[in-house]
Amino acid sequence: MENNLKRTCLYDKHVALGAQMSPFGGFDMPIQYTSIIEEHNAVRHACGIFDVSHMGEVLISGPDAERLVGHLFTNDVREMPVGKVLYGMMLYPEGGVVDDLLVYKTAPDAFFLVINAANIDKDFAWMQENSKGFNARVENLSEQYAEVAVQGPKAEELMERLLGVKVSDLEFYTFKEVEVDGKKVLISRTGYTGEDGFEVYGDAAYINKVWDILVGSKEVTPCGLGCRDTLRFEVALPLYGHELSQDITPIEAGLGSFVKMDKPEFIGKEAIARQKAEGIQKKVVGIELHEKAVPRNGYDIEVNGQRIGYVTTGYQSISTGKSVCMALIDNQYAALGTEVDVRIRKKLFRGTVCKKRFYQKNYKK
């Protein structure tokens, strides 16, 4: 298995920087370069760059592209202008999640979809399977695109000064395509950290150039997937396989606002409508522990010795120092302020159900 790991176009640079490498989504990816805490703080207070070339890209184009994306995707692309980005999910008919993704409208009849690395094959097969009868082309461009995320309060200033591209005109969740060295590069004001920042999609040569310039400046910190997870966790952004999965619907995950029930149709709509009418049995909540133990993915949540759920992601939050987790628990215990226990190894630690967002987002809107 590990011998089949794919490498991004920046692999040699990670190794040269002494990164700790580890498998993620079928790729051999940098987890950290120096320390997760240093890299995390660089993004919160200055600027960091992530290699996210493992992410998948699919282009849906053609006369029925809008209708097909509307069929596959929970968010509403009907009024979407070119240059806009939307977040949402693809659902199974039962309401569980195939994947969560970003949709970029690149032309009136073309949409660029960014999907999770571990789900590329599954998603692409799902899109093809469900595109029958639509006059649209579905192309997996994952091998052609490399991607970096440049994140943090100084990202705008550094991108403009060091790369010479104007990005201050981009609003949150919009993008533009620019020509660099005769090639098309896509830059969006998006990210997965809770900070202002940009994601840059291009070919291997351009992404290598961006990396060299930004990292070479010493003003942008190379950041691994370790802190990408601690950053997204603190602002309650879900990770597929943890807070969303085939067994966890967007409603249970608390992400119902990305599922537009006023759309005429999309896969999973009936199941979600039913769930909204009948109410949910389980819910993703935040829990803050009263002591400094660390709740990890998979640990049991208990009330009076009865298991009521499990931790989906947990850390000692780097930004706040608190021991916190997101957990999927029985809905009857999901009210804010409810006391629950988290089983950590042999001991039980008391915690309180709280808001999932442990740290305030700092987006520039």
Binding site: I31, D229, R345, K347
Partner: protein, 126 residues
């Protein structure tokens, strides 16, 4: 390169023991702290708890993972390093200067099965 110190006993699971009379101070090695990364919590036993050679007696938690502490010797816990409750990062700063528990040894012949600095250094290079 990780640091290894002469005069200590080492286990394959990267703990060290420093023997003073009938007592042993137990900690984790520099190699271990480096592999774990930023340490944020140390789960320690209570004073008077029994620890058993090759059995888990607590855990060291880094940002990304929990790692069991395996006792290299058997005995009774006589002291825990309370400083680690507030400053677990001391283990990153100097893993050999910051012991985790002090144990009254119940069988000092167990030390014979542990490695010396030279043998331990060799397994770290594997």
């Amino acid at each position: 390169m990780s640091k290894v110190i002469e005069g200590l006993y080492y286990s394959e699971s990267h703990e060290w023991v420093k023997v003073e009379g009938n007592y042993g101070y137990i900690g984790i090695t520099d190699y271990a702290q480096h592999a774990l990364g930023n340490i944020v919590y140390v789960d320690m036993p209570d004073v008077d708890d029994e620890v058993e050679k090759d059995s888990e007696f607590g855990a060291v938690e880094s940002v990304k993972a929990a790692s069991d502490l395996i006792s290299p010797v058997s005995g009774t816990v006589v002291e825990v390093n309370e400083a680690l409750n507030d400053q677990p990062e001391l283990l990153n700063q100097d893993a050999f200067a910051n012991w985790i528990i002090k144990v009254e040894l119940s069988d000092s012949t167990e030390l014979d099965s542990l490695m010396d600095a030279k043998a331990y250094e060799a397994i770290c290079k594997e």
